[in-house]
């Protein structure tokens, strides 16, 4: 061991010995930490309170017809460090994008000379609770509509502006800003609107459909094995209440359709286009599975 040798090497190497000792003990701490996190299975018992004010519902009784007894936010499946980032809006890296969204809200675009604020005023009032109820039924298209598509509809029909392309320009920050106005509100979809139930049914079929060479469905991991580790990742229930969510892995906000596509891709399958009927149906169903959880946007995840 270098440590023992350093001990008999006199003054000069004293510093080196200390350094070696330090790095050895750091390594011990780090590997200890890793094993601790491997041993620690299942969701944490922690409580999520944001800015010491907003008490979040991160565990709740599942809605009728849900295959699980309890609905649990993905927050519980992350490390203590990642969980801590979400408790403080100044520390939450996703809040930068929310602030960007706030600026977009006030920015005039398009031929009609309007911003979001021109019609909707103060988002903290006009958008409070709105994001918690999306996707909603859209009579015009005869389909469910999510926040991203609602923004595009407004841009085209009311602002005379180009619709945002998937995950481009202001789409993620503005969506996050709007959903953030529902922070702490329970996710609640109205499936009695239009044909929402039909889309829910279709989404459920897709949720249980195995895809790709790896032959996995959403349910295989997120229903059957949530709480277990798949390599370094801790499988969650895959709820949608925190989207767009800040993922440390990407160092950016990630939209729900991006995550759907990523998951399906990982089964080694071809994956549907963003906002396709398949992914809209999946969004309806997956969002419903998280009914009663607080909107966490922007959640912080691994």
């Amino acid at each position: 061991m270098p440590v023992a040798r350093g001990g008999s090497a006199g003054n000069l190497s004293g510093g080196k010995t200390l350094k070696t000792l330090f790095s050895v003990s750091m390594a011990a701490i780090m590997s200890g930490g890793m094993w601790a996190s491997v041993v620690l299975a299942g969701p944490s018992d922690d409580k999520l309170v944001i800015d010491e004010q907003i008490e979040m519902t991160t565990r709740t009784a599942a809605p009728e017809g849900h295959p699980l007894d309890e609905v649990i936010s993905g927050w519980h499946y992350r490390t203590p460090e990642t969980r801590a980032l979400e408790t403080d809006t100044f520390q939450n890296p996703g809040m930068l994008a929310v602030e960007e969204g706030a600026q977009i809200w006030e920015t005039v675009e398009g031929t009609e000379g309007k911003s979001c604020a021109t019609c909707h005023g103060d988002a903290s009032e006009s958008m409070a609770g709105v994001g918690a109820n999306y996707p909603k039924w859209d009579e015009d298209s005869g389909k469910p509509i999510n926040i991203e598509l609602q923004i595009n509809k407004c841009r085209v029909e009311n602002m005379g502006a180009e619709p945002y392309k998937f995950d481009k320009d202001g789409q993620k920050p503005l969506t996050a800003f709007i959903k953030h106005q529902s922070l702490g509100q329970p996710v609640a979809l109205d499936l009695s609107q239009g044909d929402m139930q039909t889309w829910w049914d279709k989404g459920k079929d897709l949720y249980y459909r195995r895809t790709g060479q790896l032959n996995l469905s959403c349910a295989t991991c997120h229903e059957d094995y949530n709480g277990y580790r798949i390599r370094a990742d801790h499988l969650s229930q895959g709820n949608a209440n925190g989207f767009p969510t800040y993922r440390l892995k990407q160092g950016a906000l990630v939209s729900i359709h991006n995550r759907f596509r990523g998951c399906i891709r990982d089964t080694r399958a071809e994956y549907p286009a963003a906002f396709s009927d398949d992914l809209m149906a999946l969004e309806v169903y997956v969002t419903w599975r998280g009914s009663g959880l607080s909107v966490e946007t922007p959640a912080v995840r691994q």
Partner: protein
């Protein structure tokens, strides 16, 4: 120029070797699982346990550690816990049973098992275009992993 000739020769040799090899390999659709076992080697030859140990850990190949912990590979960080730990798996199953589980676990355990079949074309829908008709592992890689697993005794 020299390089081109050399690599040309090398690929010709590889081609020759794989053609000779392919002759004795059992195709995925022709593997007979009987009583939860596949008694004969898929390649007609025994696998290489050392290679199998690598294939087991490689995230792009077996990626077995994603779901299974095994003390023999404790140098690798983060062993999964979705499947049972594999210490002593060579005591619990025979070589022929291990081969069958690797080939198509759904035929052995149940349709609902999370474990992918590594040498089957009975897979999910919408398979990525470039992987259609391909198995996760080759017959040779399956044999290597079988050879490795059988060394895991307690």
């Amino acid at each position: 120029m020299k390089f081109t000739i050399k690599s040309g020769l090398a690929s010709a040799l590889v081609l020759l070797a794989s053609t000779a090899f392919a002759a004795s390999v059992v195709a995925p659709g022709d593997v007979a699982i009987e009583d939860g076992a596949v008694s004969k080697s898929l390649t007609g030859a025994p696998g290489d346990a050392a290679e199998g140990r690598k294939t087991f850990a490689d995230r792009k190949l077996g990626n077995c550690l994603a779901c299974h912990a095994v003390t023999d590979q404790s140098e690798q960080l983060f062993h999964g816990e979705v499947g049972p730990p594999l210490d002593g798996v060579g005591d619990r199953w025979s070589e022929a049973e291990l081969r069958a589980i690797l080939v198509n676990s759904k035929a052995i355990f149940s349709e609902d098992t999370i474990m992918p079949g590594f040498y089957t074309l009975d897979v999910g829908v919408d398979v990525r275009e470039d992987l259609v008709g391909k198995t996760i592992l080759t017959a040779e890689q399956v044999e290597d992993v079988v050879a490795y697993l059988i060394t895991l005794k307690e």
